[in-house]
């Protein structure tokens, strides 16, 4: 039977098992929306209030579930509004398929109403993109899009569909499998390299595991935990890798990098072996690359060959899916008679425990002083038993969330790491809450970030998303102000937030519950009260210490061990 392009579109989504999509209608996608209307019992469409929200929500959904998020937007401004979220997903390797409407084929290149070359615009920030030029190609293109987005190193794929394709007809056939001669990601690690890696691990005196978002994306947290425990090595996580290893475990030495712990950065600096798994030696991790890990041999496991030896020369590269490689490592390790040098490890742990004594995340919360952001995050961790999904925006609050919410499971920490997109938090939380309606979803944000996608409060009302927003309000763009304090002689250029709205009234205007918390003694009670409102979105505006800084800090250009502690 012949179907229209719009019908094919919906059939393909069903074939891919898509149950939820985030989007915003417009002229070029009217036929697609008409079909979604007819089949609304099959696919749940969430109407956002700005296309950026749709894409971040799809990201949140994907990051929490490891399944591709799906967004649908119209041509022109609809598509350009989605670009930030697409670039964000590209940097954080988020599996996502974005459908954009396009003007009818005969008008392409004509400067038609709401026309933009979105395939051209997004080319540098997608894993791949397609312009569909024949309805006969539509189903195969969508199949390819999901395949590319979710395999190898995941990423966003954009499919641009001209309006006339959505009404054209053809026979529908959805390919069960797809092979592409130009795309065959390597998923199995080279066995010889795995053996070499184990050799190095057995010889090491001061080893450290440094693992990132790849562990979470690959679903390898369990395997990583097994490997780490059997090796007995210290482990640090990147910002994106938090939750990949239980952070209350004694082998966990905290996050590394610019705002990493004293023990993690020192362990990296003094290590003689660094085992990097699903991490990419980002500049926020390495600090000054010339001073990075001066004594270490480096093993690097990554599914993307281009990540290996990009920033740091690697001794043992292993290209493959992180999970497969860890399983192979475990098998190889168990087959050996030798074990890591126990004496050396005891000495190494002793040294690490010395660094731990610096207690670098310590802060003093005077009950009568202003609320410290760290205290709010720590209390939130306590009252949620460390079990919530935590989304964040970008800035100081993001770092505090990463430092003080101790994640024990993967996929629970949802933030914008690579692109650093303010405005990510709230829509991402919507995506997570859609995926897990019964779970506690928190959005830790600041008074700057929250205003970048504040319109999504309306979406939350429409779909009854009981997100708990923790606004760590200090009246500043805190991270900008911190840099200005340290490096620009306290010239606070445009980093203040005068004329902040009354967030309580704002939340209420959107139909939600608003709270303002000004006293330390009210923090815990407010959190508990908010969490008890299972079916309401609660906006908690914590009025926090104004000029509070994130420590430790590796200043730009410094080596990893050159941290400012207080």
């Amino acid at each position: 039977m012949e179907l229209t392009g719009a019908e094919i579109f919906v059939e393909c989504l069903k074939e891919e098992g898509v149950d939820t999509i985030f989007g915003y209608p417009g002229g070029a996608v009217l036929f697609l929306y008409d079909e979604l209307y007819k089949q609304h019992d099959k696919i749940n469409h969430i109407l956002v209030r700005h296309e950026q929200g749709a894409v971040h929500a799809a990201e949140g959904y994907a990051k929490a579930t490891n399944r591709p998020g799906v967004a649908l937007v119209t041509s022109g401004p609809g598509a350009t509004n989605a670009v930030t979220g697409i670039a964000d997903a590209y940097m954080d390797s988020v599996p996502m398929v974005v459908f954009t409407g396009q003007v009818p084929r005969h008008l392409i290149g004509n400067d038609a109403f709401q026309e933009v070359d979105i395939v051209g615009i997004t080319r540098p920030c997608v894993k791949h993109n397609f312009l569909v030029t024949d309805v006969k190609d539509l189903a195969t293109t969508i199949k390819k899009a999901f395949y590319i987005a979710s395999t190898g190193r995941p990423g966003p794929v954009l499919v641009d569909i001209p309006k006339d394709i959505t009404t054209a007809r053809c026979e529908f056939h959805y390919p069960k499998e797809i092979t592409m001669r130009s795309y065959n990601p390597t998923v199995k690690g080279n066995k010889r390299q795995v053996r070499r890696a184990i050799d190095l691990m057995l010889e090491a005196q001061k080893p450290v595991l440094y693992t990132g978002g790849g562990v979470v994306l690959s679903g390898a947290a369990h395997e990583l935990t097994e490997l780490t425990r059997e090796l007995g090595f210290p482990i640090t996580n990147t910002l994106m890798g938090l939750g990949g290893f239980p952070s209350m475990d004694k082998q966990f030495i905290g996050m590394l990098g610019m705002h990493g712990t004293y023990e993690a950065n020192n362990a990296m600096h003094h290590a003689d072996l660094v085992i990097a798994i699903g991490a990419r030696f980002d500049d926020r991790v390495t600090g000054n690359i010339e001073k990075f890990c001066p004594y270490a041999k480096i093993i690097h496991v990554d599914i993307d060959p281009a990540s290996i030896s990009k920033n740091v020369k690697v001794d043992v590269p292993i290209v493959g899916d992180v999970k497969n490689v860890i399983v192979d490592m475990l098998e190889e390790f168990r087959s050996r008679n030798e074990r890591p040098d126990a004496e050396a490890l005891v000495a190494w742990w002793k040294q690490i425990d010395e660094w731990r004594k610096a207690d670098c995340l310590k802060y003093n919360q005077d009950v009568n002083a202003a609320i410290k952001a760290q205290y709010v995050v720590e209390k939130f961790w306590e009252v949620t038993n460390g079990d919530a999904y935590v989304c964040s925006d970008v800035g100081q609050h993001q770092m505090w969330a990463a430092q003080y919410y101790r994640f024990s499971q993967p996929n629970r920490w949802i933030n914008s790491g690579g692109l650093g997109t303010m405005g990510f938090g709230l829509p991402a939380a919507m995506g997570v809450q859609m995926a897990f309606p019964e779970e506690t979803v928190g959005c830790i944000t600041g008074d700057g970030s929250i205003q970048m996608c504040i319109q999504e409060l309306a979406t939350c009302l429409q779909y009854h998303l009981p997100i708990k927003i923790l606004s760590l309000n200090n009246g500043y763009l805190g991270m900008v102000r911190q840099w200005q304090e340290f490096f620009y002689q306290k010239r606070y250029a445009m980093s203040y937030m005068e004329a902040l709205p009354d967030f309580v009234k704002l939340a209420e205007a959107y139909g939600h519950v608003g709270m303002r918390i000004e006293k330390v003694s009210d923090v815990e009670g407010a959190l508990k009260e908010a969490l008890a409102m299972k079916d309401r979105l609660v906006f908690m505006d914590f009025i926090t210490e104004r000029e509070n800084n994130v420590f430790p800090m590796v200043p730009a250009g410094a080596g990893q061990n050159e941290m400012i502690l207080v």
């Binding site: 395939v119 051209g120 080319r123 540098p124 894993k127 791949h128 312009l131 030029t133 590319i148 592409m180 001669r181 130009s182 795309y183 993307d304 060959p305 281009a306 030896s309 990009k310 020369k313």
Partner: protein
């Protein structure tokens, strides 16, 4: 160091701009670039000449391989290889003496005069880059009206090859 990189890619709209965009986005330079379909019309062969340290060229090859439309990449610097470039030069020959001299130079460089008017000769010349440079240099005393160069194409010697 100078590297000649051969790329086989899907003959699809936008594939070329993915390659060109990759170079500009990552700050790599393109010295020349030439592209045309192969005997298999679904594939294009692209030859790109770039300069960079070994680390940069390694990264370029990896990034090229990462593009979904790219089927295969070969850095010809790793192989014994041939390299040729084609050039058209249009020279003003208003004076009789110029006609003779230009014809003689063209013969010396094994070029062909492929078009003649009462004021111009157009010469076709194929060779490696330095030969083409030398020819342009030799024509310095004449009035060069136009130079059109194809950019280099390359192929590995012997059994080594780039194919699907």
């Amino acid at each position: 160091m100078r590297h000649v990189i051969s790329i086989l890619m899907e003959n699809e709209a936008g594939a070329l701009s993915r390659v060109a965009g990759l170079f500009s986005a990552r700050g790599y330079n393109i010295e020349s670039l030439t592209v045309a379909p192969t005997d298999d019309a679904t594939l294009s062969r692209l030859t790109l000449v770039t300069r960079g340290s070994e680390e940069i060229v390694e990264q370029i090859v990896k990034q090229l391989n990462k593009l979904i439309d790219v089927v295969k990449v070969m850095d010809l610097a790793q192989y014994a290889h041939l390299e040729r470039e084609m050039m058209f030069v249009k020279v003003g020959v208003e004076k009789n003496a110029a006609c003779e001299a230009v014809k003689r130079l063209s013969d010396i460089f094994r070029g062909n005069i492929i078009d003649v008017s009462d004021k111009t000769y157009t010469i076709e010349l194929t060779g490696d880059r330095s030969k083409l440079d030398a020819f342009v240099n030799a024509l310095r005393d004449f009035r060069i009206i136009e130079v059109v160069r194809s950019g280099s194409m390359g192929i590995a010697r012997g059994e080594a090859s780039l194919h699907v």
